[in-house]
């Protein structure tokens, strides 16, 4: 069983806002459309390089596209 990632992203909504198709964005960052779909759905964690390429394609910082939850604070007993 594949361990789910905690990383989420807003690529799909950003792409739709930009009026870009999956094929166009995939071509822009040099991956297949299937890989972009997997990234958008959180089924594939992109490499840092691809993450930066996606961020650059939208002109946004990484943090605007990818989110990672803050660690939950442990209570000291």
């Amino acid at each position: 069983m594949v361990k789910p990632t905690l990383v989420t992203n807003t690529i799909r909504s950003r792409r739709e806002e930009a009026g870009m198709t999956q094929a166009e964005l995939a071509r822009l960052i040099g991956v297949t459309r299937q890989t972009l779909i997997a990234i958008e759905q959180g089924r594939y964690s992109p490499t840092l390089e691809i993450a930066f390429q996606i961020a650059r394609a939208f002109g946004l910082p990484l943090e605007d596209l990818f989110q990672y939850p803050e660690p939950t604070q442990k209570r000291d007993d």
């Binding site: 594949v2 361990k3 789910p4 990632t5 990383v7 040099g30 991956v31 297949t32 459309r33 299937q34 890989t35 997997a38 759905q41 959180g42 089924r43 594939y44 964690s45 490499t47 691809i50």
Partner: protein, 144 residues
């Protein structure tokens, strides 16, 4: 479906067919007698050769159909394909190691050549099968 996923599916389908055909041929050749009396080498070589040819033919035919639908991405590969390929390779490797250890154990026990050769063959076949399953699952369910 990307090129490498089609290859993974082809490998998986052919592995199942090859294992089933080989086992059926050996059992039929034994004709109720001892399995060790079967002339296994030609059966094994034909199964291996047939499996390789069938995988290539299946991949090419599937590629032609995919190419007619989407010519631009028919043979495209990227880093996700390489990651999934590595995962499949690791799974395959573990089963090959198990088969290799089995062969050493059988040699040490002085087993019949039939069992030694077929343990290794089964190791190759099972590793291809499990590796194919791992790749297909990674393509379908994700790799994170």
């Amino acid at each position: 479906m990307v090129y490498q996923e089609r290859v993974a599916w082809s490998q998986l389908i052919v592995s199942v067919i090859a294992i089933a055909v080989y086992v059926a041929l050996v059992v039929r050749s034994a004709d109720g007698g001892e399995l060790t009396s079967v002339d296994w080498l030609p059966l094994m070589l034909w199964t291996i050769g047939g499996g390789i040819v069938l995988t290539i033919v299946l991949s090419i035919l599937w590629g032609i159909v995919a190419g007619m639908r989407d010519p631009q991405s028919a043979t495209a590969t990227d880093i996700r394909d390489r990651d999934i390929s590595r995962l499949g390779g690791r799974v395959e490797h573990s089963f090959l190691v198990i088969a290799g250890l089995g062969v050493i154990a059988l040699c040490a026990a002085g087993a019949h050549l039939f069992w030694i050769a077929n343990t290794m063959f089964l190791g190759f076949a099972i590793s291809a099968l499990i590796g194919g399953i791992a790749r297909v699952i990674a393509y379908r369910r994700g790799l994170v």
